[in-house]
Point group: C2
Chain length 264, copies 2
Amino acid sequence: MIIIGELINSTRDIIKEKIEERDKEYIQDIAKQQVDAGATYVDVNSGAFVWDEIDHLIWLVETVQKVLDKPLSLDSPNEKAIKEAAKVHNGIPMINSITAEEERYKKILPLIKEYDAKVVALCLSDDGMPETADQRLKIADKLINDLSRDGVPLDNVFIDPIIKPISVDGEFGIQVLDTIAGITDWNTDVHITCGLSNVSFGLPNRSLLNQAFLMMAMDRGMDSAIIDPLDDYMMKLIKAAEVLLNRDKYGQNYLKASRAGKLD
Amino acid sequence: MIIIGELINSTRDIIKEKIEERDKEYIQDIAKQQVDAGATYVDVNSGAFVWDEIDHLIWLVETVQKVLDKPLSLDSPNEKAIKEAAKVHNGIPMINSITAEEERYKKILPLIKEYDAKVVALCLSDDGMPETADQRLKIADKLINDLSRDGVPLDNVFIDPIIKPISVDGEFGIQVLDTIAGITDWNTDVHITCGLSNVSFGLPNRSLLNQAFLMMAMDRGMDSAIIDPLDDYMMKLIKAAEVLLNRDKYGQNYLKASRAGKLD
């Protein structure tokens, strides 16, 4: 499972505050904690700052990579912010995100190519936010075809079906699960990820909903997730799911974690 | 979700001991706890007693129903034990189980008909224990056709695909998930259940594996499970899963449980 740690996001009040205060230690600590807990990528987002997002994003990249030899997920709706952040990023970044919107696609594609970057590809088109699995699959199909045609190795692509809160419509979870199953059936090299916690927005005891949904999504073929890796129980369930889905052969990782007391 | 509480099973040492000691209070307490935790049916099994299984099963039924106005799942490989237990059972029992084995089928069918009973139908035939999803689906198809032909309402039937331990073969979980999806696709009135905890047999931290597998199985269409309802976290995850799968409309049960502090 490829975990993208979601915590360094300026839409969270505490993170916004710490970015403004230039609190290096706090940010570095959250980054390290996420990697220690199993994150492969650390997402950095300063999109809540309208005027100085770019400065803040550059600061986040430099601050985190000063203590971590890990690739970051450069997360912004603003391609200029991604561009500047990529310049100071060490190693191959993940770009979060491209979409099938014509303008966005054109602006982000050159950055992916320049850095041979990993990229989160959102199922979003100029027709707006998709509702059904079929609508999502149509956009995913276009993204896969276009990115492939434009020379992006599909193994670099992380399709994100876009989860909307089930508190808004009880069918939203099922539509995403069916999308994941559909993409998995195509049997391409793309990865499938998602900003999982959105599913539980507006409901109490969100962690339960996130955990349950992640198990279902993994079963349908999702092999990555943008989550809070400090949700300890979720990380344990992921290890269990990998055994159940025969992705952790002979349960080697599971047994190792168990012996180390990490599943208790 | 239709929960069949599995704890009163003589293969568990403590239960065997308490049955032998005729410890009514202990057995009644375990039964009540399971119902309080959400069990619809309470399974009773005295199969570990070779010579006096029938006496013990009758005692279990009478003992449990003395304090609980709930249907029991009469669980035995021995049709005579089920027959005698059904005689003393109040209300409509669940019979655990019929199979597609010719002899077993013939012996159990009259009991189902006599009591208009619910029945767990194991995917087991005279060809032996199935390995693949296809083999299981073939047996499930036969069971559904035969039971339907023989006048058993399909809404009374709980197909159990038979889970084998993934510690034996890493593909065993996936085969059962695919079986559940296949049966669900037929869109009949049958329910799907399973003796869930078998999946984790031989591995440590079994509860994690059971919980993760249950989420996946529910997503594939399973609407019942033979489990330990005293696994509090599993019961919480079930409530979350029912919201995610839109079986709990508007999250009414989930929100009610949350308000009562039962999801914390």
